[in-house]
């Protein structure tokens, strides 16, 4: 969660920053810098570009310090700045790539089922649109594969391979823990379009886990 109320300690921090206190600035960079870089990497795939975005964001934050009114938490403000800059870079990157457009609204308008249609019975079968066979429950044992580092890597790799909109939305919502309103506002997406992208992304991650966990079981 980004949090929406400014912390009272932030008032002191802001005063220190405005007076040019380097320790205060370093503390801020150490607290939020890594999260800002993760957000940048959600939008742009190259770490060199992400680093540029993060630098640009800090500069933007410093220049905007006097305009920061403390209506949101400092963290929210910083993440919004980095997301907006990263988004601009991603759009620019997308324009030079032939098959990508970073048109998130359009991406969400394309029809794509959560599961292949052959998982469900056809119109001429006994129970149309019901499962052909139920999904196999995953083991919930504490030492099961579910908890392994390998599983997490599988999830990270699956997310990295998703189309732009799905990748960005699931990263912000489920990895970073933003709420839907924050994601909609930063991405300039409607609530509905955002949920469509999140739904597809989650469905694909679930499917990847299913393939992995079902193949693992004896």
């Amino acid at each position: 969660m980004l949090g929406s109320e400014p912390l009272s300690s932030e008032t002191a921090l802001l005063a220190a920053l405005r007076s040019g206190d380097e320790d205060a600035f370093c503390a801020l960079v150490d607290t939020y810098g890594a999260a800002m870089r993760r957000v940048a990497l959600t939008f742009v795939r190259s770490s060199a570009v992400a680093d540029e975005v993060v630098q640009e964001a800090w500069l933007g934050a410093l220049r905007g310090l006097d305009r920061f009114e403390g209506r949101s938490a400092l963290k929210t403000w910083l993440l919004r700045i980095v997301a907006n800059i990263a988004r601009t870079h991603a759009v620019r990157e997308a324009r030079s790539a032939p098959f990508s457009s970073l048109d998130l609204a359009r991406e969400s308008a394309e029809h794509e089922p959560a599961l292949p249609t052959d998982r469900f019975q056809g119109p001429d079968e006994r129970h149309p649109c019901r499962w052909v066979s139920f999904p196999m429950p995953w083991s919930a044992e504490p030492d099961s594969a579910l908890l392994s580092a390998e599983t997490r890597k599988l999830i990270a790799d699956t997310i990295a391979g998703l189309p732009d909109g799905q990748r960005i939305v699931i990263s912000l919502r489920d990895v970073e823990g933003w709420d839907y309103a924050e994601v909609c506002s930063v991405l300039e997406l409607s609530e509905t379009n955002q949920r469509v992208l999140l739904h597809r992304a989650r469905s694909k991650v679930r499917a990847a886990l299913e393939r992995y966990l079902t193949a693992e079981s004896p």
């Binding site: 040019g20 380097e22 600035f25 370093c26 960079v29 150490d30 810098g33 890594a34 870089r37 993760r38 680093d51 993060v54 630098q55 800090w58 500069l59 410093l62 220049r63 089922p113 959560a114 599961l115 249609t117 469900f120 149309p128 649109c129 019901r130 499962w131 066979s133 139920f134 999904p135 196999m136 429950p137 995953w138 579910l146 580092a149 599983t151 997490r152 999830i155 990270a156 997310i159 699931i170 489920d174 990895v175 970073e176 823990g177 839907y180 609530e191 949920r195 999140l198 739904h199 989650r202 469905s203 991650v205 679930r206 886990l209 299913e210």
Partner: protein, 81 residues
């Protein structure tokens, strides 16, 4: 009249259900289906587990040192201006 969701519809509205974004009547239809369909129960649990596992994907918790230095250098320049 049976207006329950089919299993195929269930897997398409599950995200709205988990996000509490289904209108009350659809929420009822969703929960009614869950009450008798073990397959969809498993599916919904797996979506919950997917969300939980995704939230535990390891995240980079610090900045590369050179980037941090550049950001601090930028601060010093800003201070001078």
């Amino acid at each position: 009249m049976n207006d329950d969701f089919s299993c195929q519809e269930m897997v398409e509205v599950v995200t709205n259900y988990l996000d509490d974004a289904l209108p009350p009547d659809e929420r009822q239809r969703f929960e009614r289906h869950l009450s008798y369909c073990a397959g969809c129960g498993t599916y919904v649990n797996q979506m919950r587990e997917t969300i939980r596992q995704t939230s535990m994907v390891p995240r980079e918790e610090s900045l590369p040192p050179t980037l941090r230095e550049e950001i601090v250098a930028q601060f010093r320049n800003w201070k001078r201006d």
